[in-house]
């Protein structure tokens, strides 16, 4: 193979880009794909600068300072913030109660028949059915569950708690199963092979091996639940979100500002608590 001397190339070597065809191609592809998306999302940033919108936004933002700090309002906000935390905690706790039996029923770690070759038909079908139930539980977003429960049990925290419980039950069940199945199974299979019961095997080998990871994931989910429970307030499940929705409807900027700050602090606090808990329980 003969190499072409550099000075006979059509372009200067310092400007040569061996990948230019690829770059041009992908830029065009991206533009062609994104164009209909921009049309479909009605992407018109200039609506912000129409005089009417600018005035409304300006008034709303101007009210952010000073934030509402009257004692009655702060008292109300503290109560609602606690409610948000309580909804998240109660929801995660019920999710845990749902996830534990579903994990035990669906995990292959505790299968006796799969010790010798393939799992039996009936247990296999049962495990698959429970997996599908878990998928169904978590693939409906919590907000949709909340909308449904608000219809059925009425406005209030119960709808929020049940929504979090179902979605997070599905997530916890799935992740618990993955944690158990990815761990080292030597101890548990040895116990099962030597005639230990499945409950015994769970408590004396599976749980001690995985306890740290299981608790750490559960605490992480609790942290997510606090964010979720605020959002659920927007459809009438109570807590900080509902107050925020009310204030936004009335364009009350100063109240919204206070609540946004309280919310950011709440999420930060949950983050700190969950980091501390995970460190302690290691």
């Amino acid at each position: 193979m003969t190499t072409q001397p550099l000075d006979t190339l059509p372009i200067k070597p310092s400007l040569r880009d061996p990948a230019w065809i690829k770059r041009v191609f992908w830029t065009i592809v991206a533009a062609v794909i994104m164009w209909p998306a921009l049309v479909s999302t009605e992407f018109k940033p200039w609506v912000f600068f129409e005089s009417e919108n600018l005035k409304v936004t300006g008034n709303f933002l101007a009210e952010f300072f000073p934030p509402a700090l009257s004692p009655e309002f702060l008292h109300l906000i503290a109560k609602e913030a606690w409610r948000t935390v309580a909804i998240a905690t109660a929801g995660t706790f019920i999710a845990l109660l749902l996830a534990i039996p579903l994990t035990l029923l669906s995990t292959t770690v505790l299968s006796v028949s799969s010790l010798s070759g393939r799992m039996n038909k009936l247990p296999f079908v049962m495990r698959q059915l429970i997996r599908w139930l878990l998928i169904l539980m978590r693939s409906i977003p919590e907000l949709i569950w909340a909308l449904v429960f608000v219809r059925v049990v009425g406005l209030g925290p119960a709808a929020g708690v049940l929504a979090i419980a179902l979605t997070y039950g599905g997530m916890l069940g799935k992740v618990y199963g993955e944690i158990l199945e990815s761990a080292d199974r030597q101890v548990s299979t040895t116990m099962l092979r030597n005639g230990a019961g499945r409950i015994q095997t769970f408590f004396y080998s599976v749980l001690p091996t995985n306890a740290t990871e299981l608790t750490s994931y559960t605490i992480y989910r609790w942290e997510c639940a606090i964010r979720a429970s605020t959002v659920l307030g927007f459809v009438g499940a109570g807590g900080l979100g509902q107050q925020m929705d009310n204030s936004m409807r009335m364009f009350n900027g100063s109240e919204v500002a206070t609540m946004l700050v309280v919310f950011i602090l709440l999420v930060g606090l949950a983050d700190m608590v969950s980091t501390w808990m995970r460190r302690v329980l290691r």
Binding site: S40, F43, A90, P141, I144, L162, F263, I264
Partner: protein, 267 residues
């Protein structure tokens, strides 16, 4: 050598004991203060109402004109998530540069402030952003798209900043020693090093955002969610049922796609 004894985690002076009692107290207080009336919720009457509701959901509206509207709304949801994620990746990258300390002698003056901004963007959920943006952008998919973009900018910016800080420094250091200015070091060394991570984080967030975009509309941000809240508000159960089914299909489809892509990539 001292004999290591098992930890007495039930002793009052161990932090584990405190963590466990705090958790128990939090759970008890939550249930006590919420007054959930779980008895009423799980009563026969409300179970019957739930059953009736679910029964009504079993007869979706499958008229061709309605299905066409539904398909358009689903496409709108997909478009919202794609545009939102793309914007967030761009702005996240722009903010990640000042938010990261790229080498040990980098003064990184803006690091604290940018991180504060990213944290604020991140800790406000998409739905709250959407509700706020409705005031200035009006009802519709544009508000939803921007809401997704704002929240995701916070998430991606933080992740990008971490990957820039943890990237292997060899190429960047080689250029820096040659006296190449910081901007070019970033473009020709740091960015190519972290670009696979940036891609995979962005794709992962896109997957999340499709799910988020489906529900964003409930507060008026366009897409499937807006259709859902519209028909549910009018008690049109057949239409509600179709929208719910479309949402679940979308979510399951995205999950399945990402599962197969991951399996293909990890093989």
């Amino acid at each position: 050598m001292s004999v290591s004894r098992p930890k007495h985690w039930l002793r009052w002076d161990s932090p584990v004991c405190w963590a466990l009692s705090a958790t128990a107290a939090l759970i008890v207080l939550s249930f006590w203060s919420l007054d959930l009336q779980l008895g009423r919720v799980l009563s026969f009457e409300s179970l019957a109402r739930m059953g009736k509701f679910l029964g009504e959901l079993l007869s979706p509206n499958v008229e061709a004109t309605f299905l066409k509207k539904l398909a358009l709304a689903s496409l709108e949801t997909l478009a919202m998530s794609a545009v939102g994620t793309l914007l967030a990746a761009l702005f996240g990258l722009l903010l990640a540069v000042p938010a990261s300390r790229s080498h040990s002698s980098d003064p990184a003056r803006w690091r604290f402030l940018t991180r504060l901004l990213l944290n604020a963007l991140r800790s406000i959920p998409e739905l709250v952003w959407a509700a706020l943006l409705l005031i200035s952008a009006g009802l519709g998919p544009f508000a939803g798209t921007l809401a997704l973009a704002l929240h995701t900018t916070g998430v991606l910016g933080r992740l990008f900043a971490e990957s820039i800080e943890n990237a292997p420094q060899d190429a960047a250091a080689a250029l820096r020693v040659q006296g190449v200015p910081e901007g070019r070091v970033f473009l020709y060394a740091t960015l190519p090093t972290v670009s696979p991570q940036i891609m995979s984080y962005s794709l992962y967030r896109w997957e999340n955002n499709i799910r988020a975009a489906a529900v964003l509309g409930v507060v008026g941000g366009g897409g499937l969610g807006q259709m859902l809240s519209f028909h549910m508000g009018l008690f049109q159960m057949q239409e509600t049922s179709s929208v719910l089914i479309a949402m679940i299909l979308l979510v399951v489809l995205v999950d399945a796609c990402s599962y197969f892509v991951r399996r293909m990539l990890s093989r």
